[in-house]
Symmetry: C2
Subunit: 247 residues, 2 copies
């Protein structure tokens, strides 16, 4: 058995997320089916995280335990020939001793894209969240700095999600306008369920004057109902997965 690290990219529009499910098309399901065709045996695969239906990945990392030898430099093209065009394997390399795609992960960067113009753009339909009311990217960038640091993000997790420890560290959060697109880019050591979408939604709700408290107080109170909307999945992209310590 040899553990390989696979890096992939996918357009999440047509998938019910990463995680394999019995009655839905998922990225993990498609990848495992392609690996099984190549190796003639089931190949266990573990991803760096789950992604929701409709969420995209510019970079997604998983490991696969290959049952027999295969030249890794040829594995991406072999897999891509079997995978749907909405998934592309970019690289395959040998995993270092003890590597686990999820447990070895030290941090991730997500990008959330908002299309902020009066009229919608058909080419952004599944690629960004269309929000027609004007948003001030600079003001959102300043407010986003409250997220940076080590905080209890209980108020920024989907209700019903059960996690014991809701403390996470955000290393960086930037908000930048590029024409009609606004890019929210956040790097952290880990994220609670829907946390990025609620952090972005809270910045937008704040712009709309819908918050009763400022972000530091929402963090302190830990009450989901005080934070803003959960923005929809199609604007979210997993962009970078980091396996070395982030300072």
């Amino acid at each position: 058995m040899m553990r390989a690290i696979l890096t992939l990219c996918y357009d999440g529009t047509d998938f019910h997320g990463w995680q394999i499910q019995s009655n839905a098309v998922t990225v993990q399901g498609e990848l495992m089916a392609a690996l099984k065709k190549i190796f003639g045996a089931p190949v266990p695969v573990a991803g760096c995280s789950r992604t929701d239906a409709g969420v995209h990945a510019k970079t997604f990392v998983c490991h696969a335990d290959l049952p027999s030898p295969f030249p890794l430099d040829r594995l991406p093209l072999a897999l891509n020939a079997l995978l749907p065009a909405s998934i592309a394997v970019q690289s395959a390399e040998s995993a270092p001793e003890g590597f686990h795609a999820r447990f070895s992960c030290k941090g991730k960067t997500y990008c959330y894209r908002v299309y902020n113009a009066r009229l919608r753009d058909p080419f952004q339909e599944h690629r960004a969240y269309f929000f027609p009311r004007p948003l001030d990217a600079e003001r959102m960038h300043l407010a986003a700095q409250w997220y940076v640091g080590k905080h209890d993000f209980a108020a920024f997790a989907a209700t019903g999600s059960v996690v014991e420890d809701t403390v996470r560290t955000i290393y960086d959060f930037s908000v930048e306008r590029k024409g009609d697109l606004i890019e929210f880019r956040v790097t952290g050591n880990g994220f609670l369920y829907n946390m990025v979408r609620i952090m972005v939604g809270t910045l937008i709700s704040r712009e709309m004057g819908k918050l009763s408290y400022e972000i530091p107080e929402i963090l302190e109170r830990g009450d989901r109902t005080l934070a803003g909307i959960t923005v929809p999945p199609q604007g979210l992209y997993l962009e970078r997965v980091c396996y070395t310590e982030i300072d």
Copy 2:
């Protein structure tokens, strides 16, 4: 009756082209259905050209003969509320006397996008033609200058298309690499069926050493079998429609 000029933008992926058909979803069909809902009566619509299934439009112009008055500045949002998200009406204005979206058109600009990298990009699947073998954009740009001018483009029309006059004028043809994307941009006074896709395909076939004759001789012989491949529709975008004389 008032003739209005509508400018739209659409992602052609899910449409069987512009032209209305009885058993297929088309852009014209969707637009006429939305107009009928607003005006309570059929609204005749004529487009600047047909586009094939899968072809996109950054700018498409049509005229609509409105049976009753409607504030034109409010028409785009009213239509967009009824149209699928893959179509957006960008503007509506009153047509000058004698205007016809097709017959008044003096020229069009098309852009064809090729994704030219070793590995495919899932986000370009329906937006560009994936061609993994390396292409030299500068060399294609030089060869494309042979198309510029007034020529008989009979060799660059789909076989079976019946047009009496196959002479067209190309005002400009540029080929430019932007990272892994190559953009072919062509402006002409009119185009034969599949002409842009065959002109681009011939530049690519030339790069691959597949042409027996140079482009000037193919133009002169007027034989479709001497030109190159017809590249697929998903890379093609109607970009600009011009109603004033181009010099």
